[in-house]
């Protein structure tokens, strides 16, 4: 089914007799979902863009590339740097803004500016009963009623089908520069990344690639400012070695290209950075990549590996992004939280037809 309008979509959901599998561009098939495909790609187009107000409103099926092109023409961008999953997951198709919101997809810059959910200003969606609901708006500060915009961000279509999103954009930058440190072990690399994040020099990307023993620090902004901060950051990082300027491919880090061609399950783990190295040591992963100063671990594991058992009681969560895995795709929740989640799903989707099976 391919609705052309929000009204079409509402009717289709009202009339649905069984489970629906909601897709935007179909580039992020995370979780096991069955059902009739409900393709949102025809609900496409930017409906409002005010560069002076840093605001953009788009229909959910709008290609991300279309939005990025439009923004680039005004020297602006999606600051949360959404990941493109295609290489890692071997998918084709066109990533959509609705997919990004539904999966709360961010990139390396999340550590300094926030996640996709932090840039969401408003949503329109159709719930599991076919009712059209709006929340938030198109202004940057809005505490009018409950923040269902956050609730919808990262809900993988389980509470409603997004039809329109409104988001905050930011100016693009004049210059970007990356400093690297070499040959640090994981634990030391995380200390170095923390040192950078605990400075006033506004690093906007802090990642560590153990396979090449390289730790990356990205600075962005006006040229004079970047040059100054690069000097200062190098001094601050001196106890960890001598930094060199490098041409780091941040898109490759963002999209986890390193695991794209390798066999195995891919897990995405969010923990507090200072727990990361000890956790990785006991994970049993074939290979890992650290982002967000160590707070985000991408782990490549043998197929079927029980990663959560290896995680033990480390605070945080792990999501199976690719492969067979072991146990549920999304991290199991403690009973009272699982009860709230189930309660919300029952309210917003009483017939349990929206992406059933995902996030549960």
């Amino acid at each position: 089914m391919t609705p052309k309008t929000e009204t079409d979509l509402a009717q289709m959901i009202t009339d649905a007799s069984g489970p629906l599998r909601i897709t935007g561009g179909g580039t992020r098939p995370i979780g096991r979902v069955i059902g009739t495909p409900l393709d949102l790609s025809a609900l496409s187009g930017v409906t409002l863009y005010e560069p002076g107000a840093l605001t953009l409103v788009a229909q959910a099926g709008t290609p991300v590339a279309e939005i990025e092109t439009l923004l680039a023409a005004e020297n602006q961008r999606l600051a949360f740097e959404p990941m493109d999953h295609r290489a890692l997951l071997g998918t084709t198709g066109t990533p959509t803004i609705g997919g990004i919101v539904a999966a709360n997809v961010s990139g390396p810059r999340r550590i300094s500016v926030g996640a996709a959910r932090d840039f969401m200003l408003g949503v329109r969606f159709v719930d599991g009963s076919g009712t059209v609901i709006k929340n938030g708006g198109r202004v940057m500060k809005n505490v009018t009623g409950y923040d269902l915009v956050k609730l919808m961000s990262g809900s993988y279509g389980t509470l409603g089908v997004l039809t329109e999103v409104s988001l905050k954009v930011l100016p693009a930058v004049e210059t970007s520069l990356t400093l690297t440190l070499k040959n640090l072990d994981d634990s030391t690399a995380i200390k170095a990344m923390s040192a950078a994040l605990c400075s006033p020099f506004e690093v906007t990307g802090v990642a560590h690639t153990p396979s090449t023993a390289t730790t990356h620090f990205r600075l962005e902004g006006f040229a004079v400012s970047v040059a100054y901060r690069a000097d200062e950051l190098s001094k601050k990082l001196a106890p960890f070695g001598r930094t060199t300027e490098a041409q780091t491919d941040w898109a490759a880090i963002r999209d986890v290209h390193a695991f794209a061609k390798q066999e195995g399950d891919v897990w995405r783990i969010s923990v507090k950075p200072s727990d990361a190295a000890a956790l990785v040591a006991k994970l049993g992963a074939v290979s890992v990549q650290y982002d967000w100063g160590g707070g985000l671990i991408w782990a490549l594991c043998p197929e079927g590996h029980d990663l959560r058992a290896a995680m033990g009681h480390t605070a945080g969560h792990a999501t199976l992004i690719r492969g067979k895995g072991c146990g549920p795709t999304f991290h199991p929740e403690p009973a009272p939280i699982a009860a709230i989640t189930a309660g919300l799903r029952a309210k917003f989707d009483p017939r349990n037809i929206l992406n059933p099976g995902i996030m549960s």
Binding site: T144, E232, K272
Partner: protein
């Protein structure tokens, strides 16, 4: 407010006795001479002493209190420091106030991972106070930060002058310990980033104490910038000032704050604080951060934009003292307006592009209603703060002021904005929610409360129009 439940009031003695079983003697306040201290919050026009007030010292005590109230079907109104301007902590005669004031400790500070965990009765400013010797700060900075509690900040998703760069509470909140109305203690989020499942933290933040009582919070802390410096600009008309704001943002500079004041506000402030502001139609304060060299570079660009629009005054702070003087007037604005008369402070948000039109309309309304209005607001994000002056001792003036306030907020919604940018709905804007939301929109929000608080006992008569919530409250 709805008529209080006489049956609940009749059972006061039993309730108080049960609460005394789980709390120390001095933590249960039931004498009418003492409950009066909790009769209102910052929205002082509305007052009502609660049935009783309790001051728990920890999460376990909060859980014990809520369990009892849940069992006895007694409404509960959570209270931070009581600075809400929207009546978020206004009690009803049949309710128990849970005050978190005693719970003000720091539980953990972690600089490597950049967070602090506090009890939520701690004041906003003292969170920064706990980390500033190490060079860190907590970013959201509501004007009431000296007094307001983190509990209230989370309830209202508070903002501040610097959120253009740092975001509001929801963007700086990593985790909470929350007690549900039935006494269940839950942990959501933590020191790690983002939710593994549904973003419950995102919906709890800003839910005005209607989903649970947040007792502990993990907050993101940031290293302080090397320095900050403001520049002041004055313009002959607000449209031009609005254009300057747009041009600055489009030029790719992201100031930490862009504040705007109009003539009535400038005049009042000058009389009160003598900050040396130019008498003009629109005054902007733009602040940037960084090292000296970075600030110089950013301000050069900003000043160049400002000059293109023929300012009547353009003044860059050359010293800490000059910076303080530039901020002095802005920070005194509310006090200055309060010297003239009683005032009502609104906080609707509008798209920045609608600024000149909205200011013009507010000026016209001021004439129609015969009430003076001063405008001071966060221009970068469109969060307005019209201050309507009225005389509380004059018959009918408050009602006239509220009517005008409602018209201004409707205007904000009409131009694509919203009723409240950072103060919350509370009771103040509760019955205007229909202006912004359709029935289905409100039903969806109330469905969330149904899940967290099926009996609708937590702060029940707030946020939603009474006619919308009445079937649920009566059930």
């Amino acid at each position: 407010m709805p008529v209080p439940d006489a049956a609940v009031i009749a059972r006061k003695d039993r309730l108080v006795a049960r609460l005394r079983e789980v709390l120390p003697m001095d933590a249960v306040i039931s004498d009418i001479s003492e409950t009066r201290a909790y009769e209102c919050d910052g929205l002082t026009a509305y007052r009502c002493p609660p049935l009783c007030a309790v001051l728990p010292a920890n999460t376990a005590e909060v859980a014990a209190i809520l369990k009892i109230c849940h069992e006895l079907n007694v409404p509960v109104v959570p209270r931070g420091s009581g600075t809400s301007l929207a009546g978020g902590a206004l009690p009803t005669a049949d309710s128990v106030i849970i005050g978190v004031a005693k719970m003000n400790g720091v539980i953990e500070t972690n600089y490597d991972d950049r967070y602090i965990r506090v009890q939520t009765g701690r004041t906003n400013l003292s969170v920064t106070g706990a980390v500033e010797t190490n060079g860190f700060f907590y970013a959201p900075d509501p004007s009431s930060q000296l007094a307001c509690a983190i509990a209230g900040n989370i309830a209202m998703n508070s903002g501040g002058a610097h959120c253009l760069k740092y975001g509001v509470t929801t963007n700086n909140l990593l985790g909470v310990t929350m007690v549900m109305m039935d006494g269940t203690i839950i942990e959501i989020g933590g020191a790690h980033l983002d939710a593994g499942g549904l973003d419950l933290l995102g919906v709890i933040c800003g839910s005005e104490g209607q989903l649970g009582v947040v007792t502990e919070a993990t907050l993101r802390i940031l290293h302080k910038p090397e320095g900050a410096r403001p520049v002041l600009m004055g313009y002959d008309n607000s449209e031009v000032a609005g254009q300057v704001v747009t041009d600055i943002i489009k030029a790719g500079v992201l100031p930490v704050a862009i504040e705007f004041m109009d003539r009535p506000c400038i005049e009042a402030t000058e009389k009160f604080a003598q900050a040396g502001y130019p008498m003009c139609e629109a005054l902007l304060i733009v602040e940037v951060e960084g090292s000296d060299a970075e600030i110089d570079a950013q301000l050069a660009l900003i000043m160049e934009i400002a000059r293109k629009h023929n300012p009547v005054e353009l003044r860059e702070a050359k010293s800490a003292d000059e910076a303080a003087r530039i901020w002095l007037g802005r920070k005194s604005a509310f006090g200055a307006m309060g010297q003239i008369n009683d005032y009502m402070c609104l906080d609707g948000t509008i798209p920045v592009s609608a600024l000149p039109f909205v200011l013009k309309r507010i000026g016209e309304m001021s004439k129609e209603f015969g009430l003076d209005v001063g405008n001071v607001f966060h221009a970068g994000d469109g969060n307005m703060h019209p201050l309507i002056l009225f005389d509380a001792n004059k018959e009918g003036d408050l009602e006239l002021c509220e009517a005008m306030g409602a018209e201004i907020l409707k205007l904000c919604v009409e131009v694509g904005g919203c009723l409240t940018g950072e103060h919350g709905v509370g009771i103040e804007k509760r019955d205007l929610m229909h202006v912004q939301f359709a029935t289905a929109d409100l039903e969806a929000q109330m469905a969330v409360k149904d899940v967290f608080d099926p009996k609708w006992l937590l702060n029940p008569a707030k946020v939603f129009p009474l006619d919308s919530s009445s079937p649920r409250r009566a059930a």
